[in-house]
Amino acid sequence: MDLLSNLGLGFATAASPENLLFCLIGVILGTLIGVLPGIGATATIAMLLPITFELEPVSSLIMLAGIYYGAQYGGSTTAILINMPGESSSAVTAIDGYQMARRGKAGTALAVAALGSFFAGTVATVLVALFAPPLTAIALEFGAAEYFSLMVLGLVSAVALAHGSFLKALAMVVLGLLLGLVGTDIYTGDPRFTLGRPELADGLSFVGLAVGVFGIAEILRNLEGGEADRTVLGQSLGGLWPSREDLKRMVAPMLRGTILGSALGILPGGGAVLASFGSYTIEKRLSKTPEEFGRGAVAGVAGPESANNAGAQTSFIPLLTLGIPANPVMALMVGAMIIQGIVPGPNVATEQPDLFWGIITSMWIGNLMLIVLNLPLIGIWVKLLKVPYHLLFPIIIAFSSIGVYSVKGNVFDLFTVAFFGLLGYAFLKLRCEPAPLLLGFVLGPLLEENLRRAMILGRGDPSVFLTRPISASLLVLTVMVIAVMLLPRVRRKREEVFVEGD
């Protein structure tokens, strides 16, 4: 069977000693930084991105993927132990996880989260392996018009699922697209918006922008209020292994969470956030003892944790098959691929099957490492939680500066970091989410190229986007998404979801 031989190739790649090592390093670094206060998965990857550039493409992407789910796992740990979700997708875990910790069952909560994540990760890996090849085959038939329409749909629905005002998020995407166009025009060689700086001829530094907007701006936001000392609950974590009864109670939520998360993860935008929130709502509604929710229900941890991990995994599907990032972390992966000289898209699977399948199988290996490593290491993570923030952020700044500089040895990129740190912070203050900006930035050049190509093929007639059936249906979907988002009822409902989700 094809699937088996493909997975075999993947395991052969991912299980080579050096790739195993980089996967391990990625998972540990990711968890470490995910556990440290005030740094989310996106900022972590942006910061560590440059370290991976020295590696082989496969190893570097495997390590980045490891950092991603490691950071997510670390985020759940902080959610449970100190009621401080590392990122929005583990916000729901904090509700019941923290209550379990308060009742002396912190160890159980952590184990439930880890087991749920592992199960979801396993299922989602198989799903990625099953669905990626047929999708790739479809994507190979895509022309410039289809790609253009697909990107428009992707960007608009990413915005629809983002936090806050729809209009502002849309504006951030468009601004990101424009920033992505800075640099030399590939068709004519004309410099665009370079302000006469030769350093901008290659475009704005992707790493500099990401580190500024996600790293520096976040630190500034954290420095606003007096940084409170964090109190970690419970001197002892309690027993680690869930009792037989707890295990029984987590099976069904875990299954449902996995299904929901896998489906939503493929959607562009905050699929993982929506998945964990959705799973919590479903479990509460289906539970025979809904009054337990909010007071430490096992299902309230198992469901959302499975959902968000499944979503994190399946969000690799659009990246690997279409080359289109579903969320900011995937946008960073696209950036990493481009810097490594790989053009993300359907060709990756056929031209570099070892890379493609290696990444997919390494996800499963990484998840296994997480569960094997982290349950015994929880004691260390708890100690790390107590590191005061004011000792941390100078280290982050130092490593970010080194990282950004090491990409090209370009001093100008460091100015980019400072500029986008300031701009990112300004946007945070203006209540504009930075994630759509990064998605736009990555897709800007691709969008323009496909637009130009489609228009040349269509001889300057824009109806080319509507006469090709796939392109037309993608655009119709886009219009539907916008229309639905502007309905007052949906708008109110969406705000409610995100308010509760926070």
Binding site: L178, D190, P394, V411, R431
Partner: protein
């Protein structure tokens, strides 16, 4: 505008309008727009900038009909010490070399928090310098000059 007006959203709208104007006008004035058939370098930016301008206006208009939300304090001290840190690193890494540059940048960044005591900042900066010199310069072998030509070493 009389009773409810959200300054945050209004400012956001103005910022987007400003970016839209910048990109739009630079495309119009400096770049070849071309035709829809053969797009010049200015075509796509001009279209996008117009969309951004329109969105900015819509955000500004809707801000005039929204109740204001409380604004939190700005991290002035953070901005003052944090933002110049990467710049300082950039300006000194070639001249002074990697080791002094990373020390100075970390030290500067450390003062962004009022909780940081001077001795802590120095110890922290030293530790970061030693660690990153060992990891990045020796172990990873990144091609940085450890001490630059500005120093009489």
């Amino acid at each position: 505008m009389r009773k409810s007006f959200d300054p945050t959203d209004a400012l956001a709208g103005i910022v987007f309008i400003a970016f839209g104007l910048f990109f739009g006008l630079s495309s119009l004035l400096r770049l070849d727009i071309g035709t829809a058939f053969r797009m010049g370098p200015g075509y796509a930016p001009l279209v996008l900038a117009s969309v951004l301008l329109l969105l900015g206006v819509l955000i500004l208009l809707s801000a005039l009909r929204t109740a204001p939300e409380p604004v939190t304090a700005l991290a002035w001290r953070g901005m003052l010490f944090l933002l110049p840190a990467p710049i300082l690193f950039g300006l000194t890494v070639r001249g002074l070399g990697f080791v002094p540059a990373i020390f100075l940048a970390t030290l500067l960044a450390a003062f962004a928090s009022p909780r940081m005591r001077p001795w802590q900042a120095v110890v922290l900066a030293l530790a970061v310098t030693v660690f990153s010199t060992l990891v990045f310069s020796y172990a990873l072998g990144l091609p940085f000059r450890r001490f630059g030509p500005w120093l009489p070493v």
